[in-house]
């Protein structure tokens, strides 16, 4: 079968000793930053973007992907042992995971999280292997107008799930698009918004913005918030679940996987929403909902399966349509671009070793994570004792050198500092920085496709409504907008997030 031979190719790539090493480094680093509160995958991947430039593209993507799903794993350890989400995707795991730990079942909770994640990771790998080529084939028929509508839909859908104000989120997207227009216009070679600075001719590098906002800006935010009191459970014996426990895990984990895999594909969905929805679903169908919040094993299994499944299926729209479903995926597009590769329907056909290598590496990475997380949990718990005051100076220094290394230009470091300020101010103004990044990535693509679509249609905007694919995306966009505007659903959305933060 075709998929099988492709998977064979993928495993050949992923099992290449060098790729295996980078995959391992990725999941190791991912687990570490997942365990550490205050350092997330977005910041880490931004910081490492310049480093991956020297690698083969498939090694770079394998490593960066490892960081991403590794972080979702590591976050659960902190959630269970310290009652702090190491990662935003493990917020719900604190509810029942920490309660289990306090009841002396920390080992069982950790094992539940690891095994559910592994199960979800395995299934999600197969979903990608079967679904992605089909979607890509379908997307080959897309014209410029279809792409334009698809990206508008992606941006609008990303807004629906941003925390806080919808207007602010749209504003951040537009700000990002505007930033993306900086530099010399490819068609007219007119310099736009370069302020006479020659270095701005190529526009601002994506990694400079990402590191400024997520590396420097987030550090300031964390420092301003002050130290959090940490009290953690030290007893985590009894790692292996009994057959009875295993039976209790399987069904919630499968439901979580299904829900997570579906939500991961949607733009703006991602692991956070997936884990929350899976928890809500389990609570709804449970025979005794009162057990939740008091150490229910389903409350750990389902959300952990869901966030892992979602973080993997998010690669489907990325690799087939070039549509990033989350800021991390936007960073992945940036990483591919640094290697001169464009994410889109042609990617699977043009670079099969990259796509299938990544898919195979995900499964191997998940296996590594179980080994890393279960027997070595003591090591990760130790990592939690490293104080933040030793960590953040290293983050800042790596940011500075990393930005400088992109093109050996000191001006980039100064620009990144300005974006650090922007990032902090945005947090104070309760604006999410993620939509800005999505806008920055998708903006130039929207402009280019808009230009092409209008060229083909001789300036008639009706092309967006007469092509069925484009029309479908515009109708979907209209539905999303309607959902945002309708007050009933809006209050529901507020409730969902209020419940999440409690």
């Amino acid at each position: 079968m075709d998929v099988l031979s492709n998977l064979g190719l993928g495993f050949a790539v992923a099992l290449d000793p060098l790729n295996l090493l980078y995959g391992f480094l990725g999941v190791l680093l991912g687990t570490a930053i997942g365990v550490l509160p205050g350092l997330g995958p977005v910041a880490t991947i931004s910081i490492l973007l310049p480093v991956t430039f020297t690698l083969q593209p498939q090694s770079a993507i394998i490593m960066l992907a490892g960081i991403y799903y590794g972080a979702a794993y590591g976050g659960s350890t902190t959630a269970i042992l310290v009652n702090l989400p190491g990662e935003s995707s493990s917020v719900v795991t604190t509810l029942d995971g920490y309660q289990m730990a306090r009841q002396g079942k920390a080992g069982l909770a950790l094992a539940t999280a690891a095994l559910s994640s592994f199960m979800a990771g395995t299934i999600a790998t197969f979903i990608i292997a079967f679904a992605a080529p089909t979607v890509a084939e379908f997307a080959l028929d897309f014209g410029p107008a279809d792409y334009c509508s698809l990206m508008v839909f992606g941006l609008v859908a990303a807004v629906i799930l941003a925390h806080g104000s919808v207007i602010k989120a749209i504003g951040m997207i537009l700000t990002g698009i505007l930033l993306g227009t900086m530099g010399i216009d490819v068609n007219s070679s007119l310099p736009r918004f370069t302020f006479g600075v020659p270095q701005f001719g190529d526009g601002i590098d994506f990694a400079v913005i990402a590191m400024g906002i997520f590396g420097i800006g987030e550090t300031i935010t964390n420092l301003a918030r002050g130290a959090e009191a940490r009290e953690y459970v030290k007893n985590y014996r009894g790692l292996w679940p009994s057959p009875h426990d295993l039976k209790a895990i399987v069904r919630p984990a499968l439901r979580g996987t299904g829900l997570g895999a579906a939500l991961g594909i949607l733009p703006g969905g991602g692991p956070v929403l997936a884990s929350f929805s899976a928890y809500a679903l389990e609570k709804k169908i449970a025979a005794e909902p009162d057990r939740f919040g008091r150490g229910a094993i389903e409350g750990v299994a389902a959300p952990e399966a869901a966030n892992n499944a979602a973080s993997q299926t998010a690669f489907i729209p990325l690799l087939t349509l070039g549509l990033p479903a989350s800021p991390v995926m936007a960073l992945m597009i940036g990483a591919l671009m640094m290697h001169g590769l464009y994410a889109g329907p042609q990617l699977i056909a043009q670079k099969p070793e990259l796509f299938w290598g990544l898919v195979a590496s995900m499964w191997i990475g998940n296996l590594m994570l179980v080994v890393l997380n279960l027997p070595l949990v003591g090591m990760w718990a130790k990592l939690l004792t490293v104080p933040y005051r030793l960590l953040y100076p290293s983050i800042l220094l790596i940011c500075c050198i990393g930005v400088y290394s992109i093109r050996n230009d000191a001006l980039d470091v100064i620009v990144a500092s300005v974006f650090g300020l922007v990032g902090y101010v945005m947090t104070r103004l309760q604006c999410e920085p993620a939509p800005l990044l999505l806008g920055f990535i998708l903006g130039p693509l929207i402009e280019e496709n808009l230009r092409r679509a209008l060229l083909i249609s001789h300036g008639s905007p009706s092309v967006f409504f007469t092509r069925p694919i484009s029309l479908t995306f515009l109708i979907l966009t209209a539905i999303v907008v309607a959902i945002l505007v309708l007050p009933v659903i809006r209050s529901g959305r507020a409730r969902v997030f209020a419940e999440e933060t409690n």
Partner: protein
Amino acid sequence: MRLRVSTDLVTGLLFLALGLFAIAYGWTYPLGTPARIGPGYFPLLIASGLALLGLVLVVRGLVAPGERIGAIAARPLVFVLAGTFLFGLLVERAGFILAAVLVVVLARLADRDFRPVEVAILAVVLVSFIGALFWLGLSLPLHPLPTW
């Protein structure tokens, strides 16, 4: 009546200012024709949208009582940014070692809990380790010492 400075109001003013600035600065960029849009078309579209959203937020901030802006943490803001900013200014002339030590020391000054000995050790370890990683490991052309 005292003006309530909400996050909506400030965000709105910022969006409005940025949108109007982009419209003004990009005023001379050719718009092109509908079939062949020029380099000014798309930025104007986006900047107008941004300015409009800014206006909506300003009005909402004035009419509906929104959430107030919390205090700005001046200390971490100033010290962290001073460190990264100076790194950018100094790395090429004063050399990597000096610039990197400044980042670490200024970063630690952002925290009230400043321990001189610990900071000194941290600076030495971080600068040598990270410097070696980028300089030797990734062969980044860094000047470790001042080049006046």
